[in-house]
Symmetry: C2
Subunit: 202 residues, 2 copies
DNA sequence: AGCTTTCTGTACCCGTCAGTACATTCGCTA
DNA sequence: TAGCGAATGTACTGACGGGTACAGAAAGCT
């Protein structure tokens, strides 16, 4: 985690520029479709910098990208993600997700697409991405548990299963968003997920 | 569609073997993670055959793979997919989907993963894959329309939206299946989707 | 049989790309 | 202002992978 070599403010800025720009490129074209030269070209840097800031090469850069995108997407869902304890909070959460993905420069989910692409090729990095998804899903589960504790959901509701269902709907919607080049599938998917949640109302 | 050069039975068998084996490899490692040499090695063929049967190269092979997998997955859902006109039919459809993906040699959806990987890199092939998904989704929509016509669903149900939601849940479940290496997310996702469908009951 | 077409195997070409080596410039501090 | 480490630029290398060329084996047809 801690960089082995110290970074000057200028260096930190360059590193951040690389990550932000590379995140965009990878979202648009995938890991396999984005070369280090592409990243260099679009950031005005060369291999020198790339390997200076990410000594582990492309793998380390991709890992940094995943962290970056995970933080970004979780931040976009705050503060509702932390306190999904009312029907209204879930609605607002849905709106924040839609707003975030609607404002992205490209369709699809940076995390989900990454996870899918890496799944069969790079198990260790895939596990890192998967951990981000688990964390994200954990927030949904915690919200469902709060709802149940507050008596809004039936006692026999299984928070794990329901969180899985809602999370799946979200990512499926994002996948369709990518293939259909429209935000509508995501909207429909989230509405469906909230309907499933509502069907467990006490 | 029709091959420009005629195939002998032996040739057809070889071609089929290549497609079936390549489909498995691509499902496991993705298009970018599977080289023509890999395919040659696992089918006992060489570049000679590959380009003999798929003159258009890797792109044409991938296209054939997509057709193959699309037929296979639709067949696995029959006959329920064609007549989703009762609650029971939907349940059986769900079971057939679970059974199919549970028996696959690897996790994930061959079509969905392909669509995601190709989306930003190969627009023309991505469109082909996307067409398969549209067709698939069309069956769900038709089923919902039948359910509504039969009075099982409320009149204000939007079949397009609901089909989108169910289809998204399915593919999100499959995506999670891939990252979590388990069938459970798919089961939860489908149960959630059917709950959303049920919430529109008349 | 003899010809033609399909089928199969191998060797090669060339572009791409991750990664390396190393030279140079910048910026801070003593 | 001298020196040191961080920051940057460029040229190179080696492996990989898609695609081509072409030669030989096999199978159908007359």
């Amino acid at each position: 985690m801690t960089p082995s070599t110290s970074l000057t403010p200028k260096g930190a800025a360059t590193r951040a520029r690389i990550v932000a720009e590379a995140a965009d490129l990878v979202l648009a074209r995938g890991v396999g479709g984005t070369s280090l030269d592409d990243i260099g070209a679009s950031t005005g840097t060369g291999k020198g910098q790339l390997f200076h800031y990410f000594p582990g090469g492309k793998g380390e850069l991709v890992s940094a990208l995943a962290d970056f995108q995970a933080e970004r997407v979780l931040d976009a869902q705050r503060p509702w993600l932390d306190t999904l304890d009312s029907w209204d909070a879930w609605e607002r959460w849905r709106d924040s997700v839609l707003a975030h993905y609607g404002s992205q420069p490209h369709w699809g989910c940076p995390i989900g697409a990454l996870a899918s692409e890496l799944a069969g090729r790079d198990p260790s990095h895939a596990a890192e991405v998967s951990a981000h998804m688990d964390r994200w899903r954990g927030y949904l589960r915690a919200g469902i548990e709060r709802m149940r504790a507050a008596g809004a959901l039936r006692d026999d509701t299984d928070p794990e299963q329901l969180a899985l269902a809602i999370f799946a709907a979200l990512h499926g919607g994002l996948l369709l968003t990518q293939t259909m080049q429209s935000i509508e599938p995501l909207r429909a998917a989230l509405d469906g997920a909230l309907a499933a949640l509502g069907s467990q109302a006490a």
